[in-house]
C-alpha cells in the first residue's frame, strides 16, 4: 500500500469494521422474531398430532365446517370488502383530487379518519343499532323502536362486510388519492390537445395510470378483511358464522392447538397468495411511475351543478363511517337500555357501584380493578412497542441502506417484510407455537407482557423498516458528509445533525405504532391472559358476555387514548422542528 493507506483507517472504515457486529445482531434478532415462529408453527403441524390435524381440517367429515365453509366466508368477505373499499375510496379520491368539489381539505381529512378508529368500534356500534331479538337479550335501537331488522342485516356476512368497508375504505382512499395526485395536469392536457373528451381522458389516461394503485389498494384491503378478527367475531360468531380467523381463534381457545396451527398456516397461504399475485400484476414493465412531470399541479374538472350534491354524499359517507359510530358508542355507554339510546342517561356503566339493578350488578368500568390495570397495560404496551419498533426499524433501515446490494442487506429487507404477508392472528398463533412451551432453560413466555411486546414488535417490522427508511431518506448523504468535513465525530453528528432531522419522522412513526397497538385486537386476542389484560381484550370480553354498554365505554376509552396520543404527537412534532410548517 502507498501513503494513502495512512489515511484509510479513518472514522468511516472503523465504523464499518465494528459495523460487522451490528448486522450480525440484527440478522439474529430478525431470525428469532420472524423466522423462528413461522418455522416452528410449520414443524408443529408435521408431528403425528399435526398430521392428524391436517387430515381433520382438509379431508374429513369435519373439514366442511373447519375449512371449506370458513374459507368461503373469508373469501366472500375479502372480495366484498375490497370492492366496497375501491368504490368508496376511489370515489372520494376522485372527488377530492380531480374535481372542484367544495371543502376538499375537509373531505380529505374525513376520508382518512376511519382508519384511526378500531374496527370493533364500528362493529359494536352496528350491534347497538341493528341487533335483533333472534338471540334473545335486549334488541338494538332500531328494532326496539319498531323497525324490524332482518337477520341478514343484524348478523353475519353483510354487517361484517359493511363494518369492514367502513374501516378500510380510508386505506384505499389514501393509496388512490396519492396515485391520482401524481397524474400531472400535463398528461390530461396532452389528451385534450389530442381532441379527447372527458370520458375518453378518464378511461384512456387517468384510469390506466392509476391501475397499479387500484390493484394495490384492492389487495391490501382484501388482506385486511381476511385477517380481521374483531368484526366477524362480534357480528358473526353469535350466529355461528365462521371465518378462518375466528375458526383459528376458536381452535386455540379450546385447546386444539394443532388444528389451530393448521388453520393459521392456511390463512397465511390465502392472504400471502393474494398479496403476491397483486404484486406480480403491478410489478414488471407495467410498473409505471409517472414520467417526469412538473409535479404538484393536477387538472381539476368542473362538476357544475353536481358540486354540492356530491359534496353532501361525501360528507354523509364520512359521517356514517366515523362520527355516527362514536356517537352511538357514547350514547350507548350512558343509556341503560340500548332501545332508548337517548334517555335515562346514567354514568353507571362508567363509575357506578356494583350490586344494583342495572347490568346484573356489575360495577362501572372505572370501579373494575382489571380495567385500571388494562389501561396501564395498554399504554405501556403501546409505548414499549413504539419504542422497540422505531429503534429496530432505524437500525435495520440504516444497515440495509448502508449495505445496499449486498447479500446481507437483501436478506434483511426480505425477512423484515415477511410479517406483512402474515395476518396478525396467524402470527399470534405462530408465537404460541414457539413460546407456548419452555425452550430449554427459558420458561414459557405464554401470557406474559414480554411475549406481547416481542410479537407486536415483530409484526410491526415491515412498517418499522419502511418508516426508518423514509426517515433516513430525508437525511441525504451530503448533509452528513458536510458535517463530517467540519470534523464533527460520529456521536456529535448523530446528536447535532441526524437526530434533529429524524426526530419528526420517528415521532410520526412511533405515534402510528402506538395507535395501532392500542386499538389492536387480533394480535392480542390469542396472546392475552388474565395477568396482562389490555383494553381491547377487556372490551371484547364484555361484548362476548353481552355487556354491550361496558364494551362500548371501553372502546370509547381506547378512542380517547388514540386521539390524545395523536394530538400530543402532533403538537410535539411542531415543537421539535420549527422550521417545518405543520
Amino acid at each position: 500500500m502507498t501513503s494513502t493507506s495512512t489515511f484509510a483507517p479513518s472514522g468511516g472504515s472503523r465504523l464499518l469494521r465494528s459495523g460487522f457486529i451490528m448486522p450480525a445482531i440484527l440478522v439474529a434478532i430478525v431470525a428469532v422474531l420472524v423466522v423462528a415462529p413461522l418455522v416452528r408453527i410449520l414443524l408443529s403441524t408435521l408431528t403425528p398430532a399435526g398430521i392428524e390435524a391436517w387430515q381433520a381440517v382438509l379431508v374429513s367429515p369435519l373439514s366442511f365446517n373447519l375449512w371449506w365453509r370458513p374459507l368461503f366466508n373469508t373469501m366472500v368477505l375479502g372480495f366484498g370488502v375490497a370492492s366496497g373499499c375501491l368504490i368508496l375510496g376511489g370515489f372520494l379520491a376522485w372527488l377530492v383530487v380531480l374535481t372542484d368539489v367544495p371543502g376538499r381539505r375537509l373531505l380529505g381529512l374525513m376520508a382518512t379518519l376511519p382508519y384511526m378508529i378500531p374496527s370493533f368500534a364500528a362493529a359494536l356500534a352496528w350491534g347497538t343499532l341493528f341487533r335483533n331479538s333472534r338471540l334473545g337479550g335486549s334488541a338494538g335501537f332500531f328494532e326496539t323502536n319498531g323497525l324490524a331488522i332482518p337477520d341478514w342485516l343484524a348478523w353475519g356476512l353483510v354487517p361484517t362486510a359493511i363494518v369492514l368497508i367502513a374501516h378500510y375504505y380510508s386505506l384505499a382512499y389514501t393509496i388512490i388519492a396519492a396515485a391520482l395526485s401524481s397524474v400531472g395536469a400535463d398528461l390530461v392536457e396532452a389528451g385534450q390537445m389530442a381532441g379527447a373528451r372527458r370520458p375518453r381522458i378518464f378511461f384512456g389516461i387517468i384510469l390506466p395510470v392509476v391501475t397499479p394503485a387500484l390493484i394495490a389498494a384492492a389487495s391490501l384491503t382484501f388482506a385486511g378483511a381476511v385477517a380481521n378478527f374483531a368484526a366477524p367475531a362480534l357480528l358473526g360468531l353469535p350466529v355461528r358464522m365462521q371465518t378462518l380467523s375466528t375458526r383459528l381463534f376458536g381452535m386455540i381457545e379450546t385447546g386444539q392447538n394443532e388444528r389451530g396451527f393448521v388453520l393459521a398456516l392456511l390463512l397465511i397461504t390465502v392472504s400471502a397468495l393474494f398479496l403476491w399475485m397483486s404484486d406480480r400484476i403491478v410489478s414488471g414493465r407495467k410498473a409505471f411511475i409517472t414520467v417526469t412531470g412538473k409535479g404538484g399541479r393536477t387538472k381539476r374538472f368542473p362538476l357544475g351543478v353536481w358540486r354540492w350534491p356530491l359534496f353532501a354524499i361525501a360528507v354523509a359517507i364520512g359521517l356514517l363511517a366515523t362520527v355516527t359510530p362514536v356517537l352511538v358508542l357514547a350514547a350507548s355507554s350512558l343509556a341503560p337500555q340500548s332501545g332508548a339510546l337517548f334517555s335515562n342517561w346514567t354514568l353507571h356503566f362508567w363509575i357506578g357501584e356494583g350490586g344494583g339493578e342495572i347490568a346484573q350488578g356489575q360495577a362501572g368500568i372505572f370501579r373494575n380493578p382489571v380495567l385500571i390495570d388494562a389501561i396501564w397495560n395498554t399504554i405501556r404496551l403501546g409505548l414499549v412497542v413504539a419504542l422497540t419498533t422505531m429503534l429496530l426499524g432505524l437500525a435495520l433501515a440504516y444497515t440495509i441502506v448502508q449495505r445496499r446490494g449486498s447479500l446481507l442487506a437483501t436478506i434483511l429487507s426480505q425477512l423484515a417484510f415477511v410479517p406483512l404477508l402474515v395476518p396478525s392472528i396467524a402470527f399470534a398463533a405462530a408465537y404460541i407455537a414457539l413460546f407456548g412451551a419452555p425452550i430449554g432453560p427459558l420458561p414459557s413466555l405464554y401470557g406474559t407482557f414480554a411475549l406481547l411486546v416481542i410479537a407486536a414488535s415483530a409484526h410491526n417490522l415491515p412498517f418499522a423498516v419502511q418508516s426508518g427508511r423514509s426517515v433516513l431518506g430525508q437525511i441525504s448523504a451530503d448533509i452528513e458528509e458536510s458535517a463530517r468535513l467540519t470534523g464533527a465525530g460520529p456521536l456529535r453528528r448523530l446528536f447535532a445533525i441526524i437526530f434533529p432531522l429524524a426526530i419528526r419522522g420517528l415521532f410520526a412513526g412511533a405515534m402510528l405504532v402506538f395507535v395501532k397497538m392500542v386499538r389492536d385486537l387480533s394480535l392480542v386476542v390469542l396472546l392475552f391472559t388474565a395477568t396482562s389484560p389490555v383494553l381491547s381484550m377487556v372490551a371484547y370480553r364484555y361484548a362476548a358476555e353481552g355487556f354491550m354498554q361496558f364494551a362500548n365505554a371501553i372502546t370509547l376509552v381506547i378512542l380517547i387514548v388514540c386521539l390524545a396520543a395523536s394530538f400530543l404527537a402532533h403538537s410535539l412534532q411542531n415543537r421539535v422542528q420549527k422550521w417545518k410548517e405543520s
Binding site: A190, T211, R285, G293
Partner: protein, 366 residues
C-alpha cells in the same frame, strides 16, 4: 392594415390579448401576427407571461380580453372564451415535461391521438412508422416511456405531437430539461422537423440563444407585455428598449448611464459622445456592444478604469468583464488576456454608441 396584403389571412393573429388571474395580469395587450410557415419564438425571463400566452394559443386557457385567430378564424376571444376546443384547433403542443402517457408504449403514445381522431387503422400504422422514422426512434416503438432516456422521451413527445399533422405546432420550453449538448443537437433537429412539416410553430423559451438561432420571428416579452416583435436580426440591430438590448445578444451589450455636461454626454467624469445625438435630453443610457469596448488605452478614445472580474476566451479573442462600482462592463481583448480579480483594467470606447435610450428605457435614436 397592410396595403400589400393579398387577402390571405395570417396563420396566427393575436389581437389586444389580455389574461388576468384574479388581480394579477399575466398577459397585457399583446398584438402579434405571423404568416404561415413561420417559426415564432416567444422569449423572456421566467414569469413574463410567455407560457400563459402559449396555453391560450393551445386553447387550454381562455383570454380575458382580445382575440386569437388561426387563418382568419377566431378560436378564442375575451367575449367567447375558448371558442374552438384545444383538440379542434389543428394545433399540437409539446410540453416541457413531455407529458408522455406512462401506461402506453412509444408507438401507443403516438397512435393514441390518431385513434381519438378516428384515423383508419392502416393509415394510422403508416403514420406512426413515418414519424418514428422522422425522429429516428423506430427502434424504441415497443418501449415504455420509463424505459427510455430523457432525450428519447423528448423525441417521442415531438413525434406524438406532429403525428396528426397539425398546421400549428406549439412548444413549451421543450429543451429545458436536456443537457447542454443534447440541447444543441435537438435545436437543429427541431428546425429540420419544422422544415419537414411546414407547420407554423410557436416556441416558448427563456434562452435568447435558442430564440436567435431558430426564429423567423421573435417576440421579447417582459412583465406580460411585448417589448419588441420582429425578425431576430432586426431586434439585435435595432433594439427598441434597454430590456431588449440587454436581453438579446452574446456577449450581452453594455448600458452606460450618461449625463449632459456642456456639449457632451459624460459617464461620470469621462465625456463619451456629443450631446447632439439626443437633443433635449439631460440624461441618457448609452448602448455599447462588447466589440466596441476595447481592453487597454487607445489614442483619442475615451476610457475608464475598472476592476477586473473575469475573462473568457472566445474564438481567439478574450471577453473581459470588469466592475465599475456596481456596473458590469464587458469588452474584448485581442488574443488571450488574464489578470487577478480586482486588478485595474483600462477600457476604451472605440466607437460611438450603437444606440441611445432615454432613462425610461425607450429608444431615442434610430
Amino acid at each position: 392594415m397592410n396595403a400589400l396584403a393579398t387577402g390571405a389571412a395570417d396563420a396566427i393573429e393575436i389581437r389586444n390579448l389580455v389574461k388576468r388571474f384574479g388581480a394579477f395580469t399575466a398577459v397585457k395587450d399583446v398584438n402579434i401576427s405571423v404568416p404561415a410557415g413561420s417559426f415564432l419564438v416567444l422569449v423572456g425571463p421566467s414569469g413574463c407571461g410567455k407560457s400563459t400566452l402559449l396555453r391560450m394559443l393551445a386553447g387550454l386557457e381562455g383570454p380575458s380580453e382580445g382575440e386569437i385567430a388561426f387563418v382568419g378564424q377566431t378560436v378564442s376571444s375575451g367575449a367567447g372564451g375558448v371558442i374552438a376546443d384545444a383538440g379542434r384547433r389543428n394545433a399540437g403542443l409539446v410540453f416541457q415535461s413531455y407529458a408522455l402517457w406512462p401506461h402506453m408504449t412509444v408507438a401507443g403514445n403516438i397512435a393514441w391521438p390518431l385513434k381519438v381522431a378516428r384515423w383508419p387503422r392502416e393509415r394510422r400504422d403508416r403514420r406512426v412508422k413515418e414519424v418514428l422514422a422522422l425522429l429516428g426512434i423506430g427502434a424504441l416503438a415497443e418501449r415504455y416511456p420509463a424505459e427510455i432516456s430523457g432525450g428519447q422521451q423528448q423525441r417521442v413527445a415531438i413525434a406524438r405531437t406532429i403525428a396528426p399533422e397539425p398546421s400549428i405546432l406549439l412548444f413549451d420550453e421543450p429543451l429545458s430539461n436536456l443537457d447542454a449538448k443534447l440541447r444543441i443537437e435537438m435545436r437543429s433537429e427541431l428546425m429540420r422537423i419544422h422544415r419537414a412539416t411546414g407547420a407554423t410553430s410557436v416556441y416558448v423559451t427563456h434562452d435568447q440563444v435558442e430564440a436567435m438561432t431558430m426564429a423567423t420571428h421573435v417576440a421579447v416579452l417582459n412583465n406580460g407585455r411585448v417589448e419588441q416583435f420582429g425578425k431576430p436580426i432586426d431586434l439585435l440591430r435595432n433594439p427598441a428598449t434597454t430590456f431588449v438590448a440587454t436581453f438579446l445578444g452574446t456577449p450581452p451589450a453594455n448600458l452606460l448611464p450618461a449625463q449632459r455636461v456642456g456639449e457632451m454626454f459624460a459617464f461620470g467624469d469621462t465625456p463619451l459622445v456629443s450631446g447632439s445625438i439626443a437633443p433635449g435630453h439631460a440624461e441618457v443610457q448609452l448602448l455599447y456592444r462588447a466589440e466596441d469596448v476595447c481592453v487597454g488605452a487607445v489614442a483619442d478614445k475615451p476610457s475608464v478604469t475598472a476592476r477586473f472580474a473575469e475573462a473568457a476566451p472566445i474564438a481567439g479573442r478574450t471577453m473581459v468583464t470588469a466592475m465599475l462600482g456596481e456596473l458590469r462592463i464587458t469588452g474584448m481583448a485581442e488574443g488571450y488576456f488574464s489578470a487577478m480579480p480586482g486588478d485595474p483594467v483600462t477600457l476604451s470606447f472605440i466607437r460611438t454608441p450603437d444606440a441611445v435610450f432615454a432613462v425610461s428605457g425607450e429608444r431615442i435614436t434610430q
